[in-house]
Amino acid sequence: MLKPHIGDSVLRHEDARFLTGRGTYVDDITLPNQAFAAVLRSPHAHARINGIDASAALAISGVLLVVTGEDWLKQGFGPIPTKSAVNKKRDGSPLNEPPRHCLAIGKARHVGEAVALVVAESHAAALNALDAIDVDYEALPAVTDARKALEPGALLVWDDIPGNFCLDFELGDKAATEASLKASDHVVELDVVNNRVTAVPIEPRGAIASYDAKTDCYTLYNATQNVHANRDTFAEKVLHVPKEKIHHIAPDVGGGFGVKNGVYPEPALLMYASRKLGRPVKWINTRSESFVSDSHGRNQMSKVRLGINKDGKFQALYTETIGDLGAFCWTVGPFTPTGGSARTQGGPYAFKAMYYCSKAAFTNTMPMDPYRGAGRPEASFQIERIVECAARKLGFDPVELRRKNLIPPTSLPLKTAMGLDVDCGDFPQVFERTLALSDRAGYAKRVEESRRKGWLRGFAIAPYMECTGGGPKEFAGVRFQKDGSVELAVGSQSTGMGHETSMPQILAARLGIDFESIKYRQGDTEATPLGGGHGGSRNLELGGNAVHQAASEVIEKGRKLAAHQFDTDEAKVQFEDGHFFVPGTNQTMTMREAIEASFDPSKLPEGMAPGGLDANTTYERGVISIPNGCHAAEVEVGPETGVVRMVGYWVVDDFGTIINPLLCDGQVMGGTAQGIGQALLEVAHYDPESGQMVTGSLTDYALPRADTMPPMTIEYYEGAPTKKNPLGVKGAGEAGCCGAPPAVVNAVLDALKDYGVTHIDMPLTPEKVWRAIRAAR
């Protein structure tokens, strides 16, 4: 019997199966009579497809089906539309959206684009067939850099989209910002590149589609983060079937980080193939394919201008960004360099005026979609780099300069110049606590110790302020069973975050029932009528509050039932600590007793059916919440090698109410690791001549390893639970990616300050750091 509270570090329920090899990921599912699919992907960044001859492939024993783009169009299937919340240009006209079909039509526009689908009796036969398909490609020159793509005369990714231009965007008061810059004592300017990266969840994408001719329904098992939204698109936009005809199930999903949120072509292809062949069809992406067919993230090129006065007070911030979209508008790709990056401009600092504008361009590269943070890490990196740059150029102490400009708690609540509702928090206290944890007093000694070993030591602090996002509604269903168990179904979805623990923890804490009695369901369009899946650090804010709301409804119904049992007025019945009671009497009833009574018709009040305590509820968000915090990093840099070693790391986060500190720590550590990866190691690099992704394997694309990571200290500031939602939570999943890149990069530049190195673009690989040192010497 485990009766947890909010704030307890409850150990995870899901661990038992994951630790013993009993997890069920999509590749672990085998359906009777299943066939195997493989995808033929474009080897060219840009090529005309003059013809596809599949006859040799179809002649191979065991090959069942080859589907080409022409076959696909003949079926009348539709393209996958973008659902970017920003979908108009500044002039009000719709964004330029090229058709994104599930297979290349006429031309391939990036390496890895799906050109044909093969289905065979065995995986090996499908692979053999891929090699036997003869595609008549006519290779064309490619453009892989969004800045070049927007230049006059650039070659076109889409013939009918002039200038490779998708849309432009602005937010803030341009005139006021320009005036404020003009009036500032100094204007500091910096070009900031946010490197193209990709999420690399360790489980590759994969799916199994099974069509049942009797019911004319599809069952789709898919390694996705978002079963409802993706089902709707497959049904309504691509296959043109009623959405009720697709049962979409995400089994255990091995990491997502945004990359499994979007709508991909392969599941739709599998559903068609399954219907055509009358048998289930399975496909699992290889890692090599994942690098060129999973969405990429970031890749923004920005010019940042900061107006600052002699006293060090920030005045104005003006940011111009070019965002790369890749070859298509992916599911919500155009939102990231526009609205997604604009909202949290300026971070936790006070500004008189801010202005953000951007342009998004098409290139012959894998399209972009949200990756952990989707715009907020970019904004955080921009402000923290320009602040560090200003401190260096104008002779301010970087810590003092930040301290001087943090929004004080007395200014809250406020609406930022970007329109963001900052309701509560204490940025100065979080900042000072981070500094204190990082032992500034002992720093000089540590610098000396490093020096004696031949290493340069650097320190940086990076306060951040971000926001939540994702679907604004969430469903929670609480269904009591006669055997004493409770089914809790929520439409948000874990890809590793531990919802199977945190969500039942909230329910058990509210109702005072046994945590172990709760059976959790997620990632299944038949478990909940709606669901927002995972994205935008939304689960506790949406899913958690939906569970909270469902629990409140259960309690209300329970009070009715208890009043009937106590033979008293409902208004007199209170609920606390798992008990219904009437104050001043000895009448009491536990929630468990109320649940049991709810199945006994003789004990029910009028109008309540057996099992009548069930609750099915939809929680809707009012205003997005504002997670914030501060990261500090210490690094050592080898002056002869350019190697960066992470040697100290401190984080203080304000996520409002902390439901489960153990799981929250996991989010902070994981997000920070991805941020450190982006800062030091990772880049999805395209060769500008060939358009090939040259970091397209785990041999070339460097992920953080255990020895990349420093010792970390994490604390939470819990003095400001938000009133924007009943639980007071602010969202925790993406914060690490906001704080870590600027903390790490600025710490490395601090270590190199005696060489006069002021800027290196991420990732700060040994080669780049070494070259910067050599160039400065």
Partner: protein, 155 residues
Amino acid sequence: MPRISLTVNGKPVAHEVEARTLLVQYLRETLKLTGTHVGCDTSQCGACVVHVDGRAVKSCTMLAVQADGARVTTIEGLAPAGKLHPMQQAFHENHGLQCGFCTPGMVMASVALVQGNPDPTDAQVRHGLEGNLCRCTGYQNIVKAVLAGAKAMRT
């Protein structure tokens, strides 16, 4: 097709396999032991680590025929049914896993690491796990779990 006989999780097994079959394919597809995962195609990620004659091996990098006559242990056979090995228990108690996909390989690599070095330092654990990638945890709690698991294995 060659015929192989080996012991997997204490049980003798024998099958005819295509010569090109990888050990991981044999475990997952023939024996239906799906706890061993495949996360890459270049032997980098380590999700497929199993023990072959007591040594940690990336089972995507070994042919099934090379395991003929060997004693193989997978994550399913690390502890008796219904029980956890001290390393599995340590991963649970220290939140050393999130999505769980890298976990079987990570646990198997950790057990072998500790069997070779019963009292490793933090740095030795980090170095010892460089062949295993995790994208969720940032490794902090994995390292903590391995140190706790090592302590539990010593006592």
